[in-house]
Amino acid sequence: MAEKAILYDATRCTACRGCQVACKQWNENDEYIPTEENGVDSRNWGSYENPPDLSPTTWLKMEFREVEPSDGSVRWLFTRRACMHCTDAACVQVCPNGSLYHHELGFVAYNKDTCTGCGYCIDACPFDVPRSDRNILTGIAKMDKCTFCTTQGLDRIDAGWEPACVKTCPTGALKYGERSDLVAEGKKRVQELKKKGWTNANLYGENELGGLHVLYVLDDSPEIYGLPVSPQIPAATIAWKDVIQPVGWAVGGLTIAGLGLNWLVARANVKKEEK
């Protein structure tokens, strides 16, 4: 099946944060209570940005950035922060029991019921997106992140609708559709921006980590927008998943096989000796 994606055009975003609210409302994520354990404190910290970080109940948030280019002006830039729905998703690789998986339309969905709360995905994500409510003492936890509006019982995609954030966007900064169409559209927009003098304009997410399912039209380098220039699956993820796990199977298997063999040979020899 063709892959779907979201295209975020940062140059059209006014940071009204309608998407943030729509996301919470649709997914029934009540505002995070700061007094709760691991809660995100929403005190005034000198920014219009609020809440200050993603949380188990804040799957999407707009980041504000003040940038001062060399010409003395000030730019106020907005970045959409939520799951990027990678094709090569580190979280899917480290999830011990397949609770995180790729939806047939390409993005990264998960089954909260089966989540073990190990937190491996939180540590592996190159974009620092997943969050969990964790009891430090007992270790009881559940991961949460953007589900691309496929939460069980609240599945907008299955119903043929667009995600709540896209639906509510008043400026057309967010679009939902076939990934290939959105890549083409994003590229076209980048060309327009370049013509207008934004020489660093680029489409972020086309090839990063095998292709993200959230694409960004940016008028400047990803760094300026707080995005990793070349996101990678962490070395520890590869070392654990592709080296340690197969090695564990092999060494464990050989040990058991060796002991079994030893038992057969030793027992035969003992019997021989008895005779």
Binding site: P96, Y120, I122, G248, L259
Partner: protein, 217 residues
């Protein structure tokens, strides 16, 4: 048939052994569910993590209690684990033939209370035990404060220890319980005693010392 027996493990050591190994089995099984994807469903809702932590607490506290009660025994044990001689090399060379072909003990240098193989396992228990506890403590208490990369490498190191000790654990059970020649290893750690013949055969050096000190046995 008269049984001449000699005490191999005193009661506190045996109690330590069984509580500690019980904790290890608990930790092994509740860790295994995150290592084998097909068993992952057992870990749903974090319950295995809770059991893992209870096991971890026992795993740490019991040796500490033993250390307080019996520091001399711990010192002796530590010294043994780190004392290696050419006799150990001799044992290692003779071991494959001994264990597989049932060669006679004469090929093997006389052993202390712990033979080289047991000493290797004891050494692993000490070293990997400490690494387990350190990496585990980081994952337990610094899960929300340590940098993600640090936590990922903690999992990695924890799992390397898991594979190494897990495999040696199988070997330990096998040689202690199932191997056709280790007829009295099980008795020594359950009831504490082994027969004189067994002691002489398997732990000659140790038996010589014991029999010198005590007329009986």
């Amino acid at each position: 048939m008269t049984h001449h027996e000699v005490e191999k493990y005193r009661k506190p050591v045996r109690v330590l052994h069984w509580i500690h190994s019980g904790a290890f089995v608990l930790l092994f099984l509740t860790g295994l569910v995150l290592f084998i994807p097909q068993l992952g469903f057992l870990a749903e809702d974090s319950w295995t993590r809770l059991i893992h932590r209870i096991g971890a607490a026992i795993f740490v506290i019991i040796p500490i209690i033993y250390l307080i009660i019996n520091p001399k025994s711990v010192c002796r044990g530590l010294k043994e684990a780190f004392t290696w001689s050419s006799e150990d090399m001799g044992w290692l060379k003779a071991a494959p033939r001994y264990y597989f072909v049932i060669g006679d003990e004469r090929d093997m240098p006389p052993q202390e209370a712990m033979n080289t193989g047991q000493k290797m396992w004891w050494f692993m228990v000490l070293v990997f035990g400490v690494i387990f506890v350190i990496t585990g403590a980081v994952m337990w208490f610094a899960k929300t404060s340590a940098p993600p990369a640090v936590l990922q490498w903690m999992v990695f190191i924890h799992d390397v220890c898991f594979i190494a000790t897990g495999c040696m654990f199988f070997v330990h059970i096998y040689t202690g319980v199932f191997h056709p020649l280790m007829t009295e290893a099980w008795n020594s750690i359950t009831g504490g005693k082994v027969s004189v013949e067994y002691a002489r055969k398997h732990h000659g050096k140790w038996y010589a010392e014991v029999s010198k000190g005590k007329k009986e046995a």
